[in-house]
């Protein structure tokens, strides 16, 4: 099963075709390397996959979904994560905060949850979130319109009175369906594990919140429901769990004790590792590593090879790698793809690629082949 498929992907910059009709299939749990001389379009291809550039032609499929029209953050949320050739950490943040940012797609706390940490974590589905936003909007309209109505009535201002009726009507329009949904949520919540306490609570909520077609009923109902369903967290608990996970990742990449360092103060090798930890934090299915061993000495490179293999073997990730160091490429790749001037000139196992005359030509020039 291929986790990533690229079909005829082409990216042009003005007259320059940086990536030209590249076909690529990345099987699950494999380590695939892309190699090629400088300017061959390797990083551009990465940028197309992560959505930073939009491919002009061709399609990219990840796990069956087409990536072409998605924003980078949507692609990241689907489980693709990357590191950069020149390390790009969040320099003014600590190592641990960098990893926490990496967890962003997996966490749910939004504005309300950040402000009130005891709130049940928000539902993850976009539909539920949109409904909640509508409920909140309707509630606000109600809050705003009712006093205006009362005051206009007191002052006998008919124009204002009529104007206030509009938001009230809107709020009722949105509110009634939400009220029904909220009731459904409360009933479902009770049916899951009925108990007198629950029944009393939901009855109380129903009485208090449904008094004026209250859209808030939907929010409370769905939150209670969601809370049960995900057996999880208040926002505060989620944050605590995220912090524990970040610390675990910090230890995993061997940065124990450096979590509170600002990223910019870390030594070079540690920055590389931190960047990988940040990429791992979103628990991706596919990890794109752009020259992970650049600027490392042989011992560190050896360690990195071992580390990358562990990612695949222990965490079950698929790894797409850009690398110049042939020892790394030949050491860990299951499959190697060679790009030159944006065109895929050959692919195969490391052994096959090594002997391919076109590859040697791309690296050394025509004379290299002749000699």
């Amino acid at each position: 099963m291929n986790i990533l498929e690229s079909q005829q992907v082409t990216k042009r910059f003005g007259g320059l075709t940086a990536v030209s009709k590249v076909d690529l299939e990345v099987p699950e749990r494999s380590i695939l390397s892309i190699i090629g001389p400088n300017g061959a379009g390797k990083t551009t291809f990465f940028n197309c996959v992560t959505g930073f550039y939009r491919a002009e032609e061709g399609s990219l499929y990840f796990d069956g979904t087409r990536l072409n029209d998605l924003r980078p953050d949507e692609i990241a949320a689907r489980g693709i994560s990357r590191t950069y050739q020149n390390i790009r950490l969040f320099h003014a943040m600590t190592a641990l905060e960098n990893i926490l940012v990496g967890q962003h797609p997996n966490l749910r706390a939004g504005l309300c949850e950040a402000l009130f940490r005891w709130l049940p974590a928000a539902p993850k589905s976009g539909r539920a979130r949109r409904l909640e936003a509508a409920a909140l909007g309707a509630a606000l309209l109600l809050f705003a319109a009712i006093p205006v109505l009362v005051i206009a009535g007191l002052l006998e201002k008919t124009a204002l009175f009529r104007a206030a009726l509009i938001p009230l009507g809107l709020a009722a329009l949105v509110g009634i369906p939400l009220w029904v949904l909220g009731t459904v949520h409360l009933v479902r919540w009770n049916l899951q594990a009925p108990s007198p306490g629950r029944a009393a609570l939901s009855a109380g909520l129903f009485v208090v919140l449904s008094g004026t077609l209250h859209p808030l009923l939907y929010i409370v109902g769905s939150r209670l429901h969601a809370h049960e369903e995900q057996a999880a967290f208040t926002a505060g608990e989620e944050e605590g769990a995220a912090l524990r996970e970040a610390t675990r990742l910090l230890n995993f990449v061997g940065l124990t004790g450096k979590g509170d360092w600002l990223a910019r103060n870390l030594p070079y090798g540690d920055q590389r590792r931190l960047e990988i930890a940040r990429a791992l934090a979103s628990n991706p299915k596919l990890l794109l590593l752009d020259e992970p061993t650049a600027g490392m000495n042989p011992a560190e490179t050896e360690e990195m090879i071992h580390f990358i293999r562990r990612l695949r073997d222990e965490l079950g990730m698929t790894i797409l790698l850009i690398e110049h160091d042939m020892r790394v490429v030949m050491g860990i790749s299951d499959w190697v793809v060679v790009l030159d001037y944006g065109v895929k000139i050959c692919e195969g196992t490391p052994g096959q690629v090594q002997c391919n005359p076109r590859v040697i030509e791309a690296y050394l020039g025509k004379k290299g082949v002749a000699a």
Partner: protein, 512 residues
């Protein structure tokens, strides 16, 4: 021992002296000294200032050069005094001669009154006065150089530092201090005492200072809001005053008898003002947030001006009250009690609210997303952060805080008009965020105190207060570019003991 560096430094000091002289600081110190010691002329003060500068320059030059010999110190000190002396003398000679020749210098240099020149020349002819000044400054520099060398030999700097350290260590070692540091709630008790002091402050501050402190408070609210936009999310917003204006005008138009006569209660107008400001933040945000850096600054600057110009425009006069503003803005009442005398406390309450909200946001997923965007927008997006959404959120939060500030401001003054919402407000708020330290909430509070409080304290200096204030700002930004109270990252990493509780694995190499 570097003569060239000494001369360069001397020239720089000379230029600084000229600058402050042209702007009239010498006259000012002259008159202050005159007032204190009941002298008949300000000359003593001016000369004291000049000689003091030369003395200081001599001492620091020698200490920087670290010459370790009396002879070198002598020469360096002499030069350190003589070079600026030459500049000042030349200036005196030139202005003296020009004024004697009848050139209309005052047309360009307002502070160049005959008295100001007289302070330096002491009524002597220009040439003699110049010579005297030069000699005096050179002598002062010489003395300063020798003093500096003496100080270096006796290790003054070292001993002062050591004494300071010893003193601090002694205080920390006190059993009371040790115990209170160990006591868990010390921090909360200190905060509580601070809050109580702030609450009862009006009792012993008097009306004027309470009013000033209220203004500082409103700027704290604005600063905390802008801190979210600029300090956390890294969006340079120069039109921040627009949201302040929207809050102020909303409460004014809804509660004042003219021009609309709605006369709504303050408490109802407050959330409406805040909500409208936040909405304006989002509406402004949607088109401009694709821009970055300088472009964003320019567009927001324009937006701020648009709002102000709209409020003065003829077309909207019937709606906004035009250039004359809105009078008799409603005051808050609570259970029949008029709160307008307690505005200080209301502002305090609002500060607590915005500070709590913004700290909560800062230390959450939302705050981290903002900071990540500030550090590197592209990478932040690649990490799954919906950049546009979080930018809008930052704008909305910042704008709603500004709206809150505007509501309080208009209601406290019982008036709001276009003059309250000039560009300078945006600049001031931005300044206080930067001076305090970007992204740091205590920094914002300190910055507001310095920027809005200090000019009031400096009122003693009359016309020169803004000048002195500007100089202080420049000096401060050179000495502490990261701000007065830079933001400190919370320490988050779980230490070995926490970790052991989290999972039963032996911790490896945890920090001390």
């Amino acid at each position: 021992m570097n003569i060239r560096a000494t001369i360069r430094r001397g020239l720089l000091v000379g230029l600084v002296v000229l600058f402050i002289f042209v702007l009239g600081v010498t006259t000012l110190t002259g008159s202050i000294v005159q007032g204190w010691f009941k002298l008949d002329s300000g000359a003593a003060g001016a000369w004291l200032l000049l000689c003091g500068l030369a003395l200081w320059n001599g001492a620091t030059t020698v200490r920087r050069a670290a010459c370790h010999s009396w002879k070198a110190a002598l020469w360096n000190g002499l030069l350190a005094g003589a070079v600026p002396g030459l500049v000042v003398a030349a200036y005196t000679l030139a202005t003296g001669a020009l004024i004697a020749a009848g050139a209309p210098l005052r047309e360009w240099l307002v502070q160049l009154t005959p008295e100001a020149i007289g302070l330096l020349t002491l009524g002597r002819p220009p040439l003699a006065a110049a010579g005297l000044l030069w000699a005096a400054l050179a002598a002062a520099g010489l003395v300063g150089g020798l003093l500096g060398e003496w100080g270096a030999r006796r290790h003054w700097g070292e001993s002062i530092r050591r004494r300071g350290q010893a003193g601090r260590a002694a205080i920390v070692a006190l059993p009371v201090v040790q115990k209170s540091v160990a006591f868990k709630y010390t921090r909360y008790i200190l905060i509580g005492v601070g809050v109580v002091l702030l609450v009862i402050a009006p009792l012993f501050l008097g009306q004027y200072w309470t009013y000033t402190l209220g203004l500082v408070g409103i700027y704290v609210i604005l600063g905390v809001g802008l801190n979210v936009v600029v300090g956390l999310a890294g969006l340079l917003d120069l039109g921040y005053v627009a949201f302040f204006a929207i809050g102020a005008y909303t409460v004014a138009l809804l509660t004042a008898p003219t021009p609309h006569g709605i006369m709504m209660s303050f408490w109802l107008a407050l959330p409406i003002g805040v909500a409208l400001a936040a909405t304006a933040g989002v509406l402004l945000g949607i088109p401009v947030l694709r821009m970055r850096g300088d472009y964003l600054a320019i567009v927001t600057l324009g937006f701020g001006e648009i709002i102000r110009i709209l409020s003065t425009s003829d077309v909207l006069t019937t709606f906004t009250g035009g250039p004359r503003g809105v009078r008799n803005v409603g005051s808050p009442t609570l259970l029949g009690l008029d709160l307008s005398n307690y505005f200080y406390h209301l502002i305090l309450l609002a500060i607590v609210l915005v500070v709590v909200l913004s700290t909560r946001l800062q230390n959450s997923r939302v705050g981290r997303a903002w900071m990540a965007m500030r550090d590197d927008e592209d990478v932040a997006q690649a990490m799954g952060i919906h950049v546009l959404k979080y930018k809008l959120l930052a704008f909305a939060i910042g704008a709603s805080f500004a709206g809150l500030g505007g509501v309080l401001f208009a209601s406290r003054n019982l008036f709001t008009g276009p003059d309250d919402h000039i560009l300078l407000v945006s600049i001031n708020v931005l300044c206080l965020v930067i001076v305090g330290g970007m992204g740091s909430i205590p920094g914002v509070v300190l910055g507001a105190l310095v920027l809005k409080g200090l000019p009031e304290v400096l009122r003693e200096l009359k016309d020169y207060r803004m000048l002195a204030f500007g100089t202080l700002l420049v000096v401060m930004m050179i000495l502490r570019p990261e701000g007065l109270w830079p933001s400190k990252r919370r320490s988050l990493e779980l230490r070995a003991d926490d970790e052991a509780a989290a999972k039963p694995q032996p911790p490896t190499g945890a920090g001390p």
